[in-house]
Amino acid sequence: MVLFLGRNEKQREAFVISLRRTVSESVALRRAKVQRGTYAGDLVSRFYDSLFRRSLELKSDYVKYFAGEYSTFDTYLRRQFLWAPEVTNQVTAVFDRSQAIFYFEPTYSFIDEEYGQSFIERVLGRNVTE
């Protein structure tokens, strides 16, 4: 699932991305069919880094730090992020099927509502939770 959330309080566009399995950087580069060390390779590497290394992974954040405070993942999403039920319902629905669920603020300007969703799905491919 790649869910576009719109602009957050910092006026940054944001997504929730759930993955059945996380992938290594090498796999992401191979899947994108770009060569490491080239312009396109660096572009995908920076995207990978911003998603997998610098985004908040909601599932582990909840399990490690908030499960004692909030009895359900849905409550955690509502109270911590003040997301509407139509958002939390969708994110909660993929909890069991996902190895990781990222809250992602893109660093590339072209990863927006129109093009961004399809770009993310194409780079991550079948690893995106349906």
Partner: protein, 138 residues
């Protein structure tokens, strides 16, 4: 009355210079960028390829260009400031080697994809193509 929320920035443009052995073609361009033609994100680079071709306002084939004509004459006087010392250096080298040069600018007021490349700063080279996109002015 209009109310704009979020950041407001100036529009901008970025000069670029491409030097190529032959006419610039998509295959050499993709090789330079390091992306396969069947990549799931090939459209991003196809767009950039089209944008640089469409935005090349000065095209010089140094194989047939008059040898005694100063390179500066290819550019309007007001354009001179858009070329960095590095670009002039590469143009002089291209003339010596009889290569082709494409100069133009990308504009942040077009597509999101062009805006992105307009804000990125890079210099890359393969055995056939040199691409100077260093003049990011954001």
């Amino acid at each position: 009355m209009k109310i704009r929320s979020g950041f407001v920035t100036n529009s901008s443009s970025t000069s670029f210079l491409i030097i190529s052995k032959d006419d610039l073609n998509k295959s050499d361009f993709f090789k330079l960028m390091g992306v396969s033609a069947d990549s799931p994100i090939a459209d991003l680079f196809s767009q950039l390829y089209r944008d640089v071709l469409d935005s090349s306002s000065v095209k010089i084939d140094f194989r047939v260009a008059p040898k005694d004509m100063p390179i500066e004459r290819w550019f309007d006087r007001h354009r001179h400031g858009e070329l960095s010392p590095r670009m002039w250096e590469k143009l002089r080298e291209a003339r010596k080697r009889g290569l082709k040069a494409y100069f133009g600018s990308l504009d942040s007021e077009t597509s999101n994809i062009q805006t992105f490349f307009c804000t990125d700063s890079f210099e890359i080279e393969s055995d056939k193509v040199y691409f100077n996109g260093l003049e990011c002015v954001w």
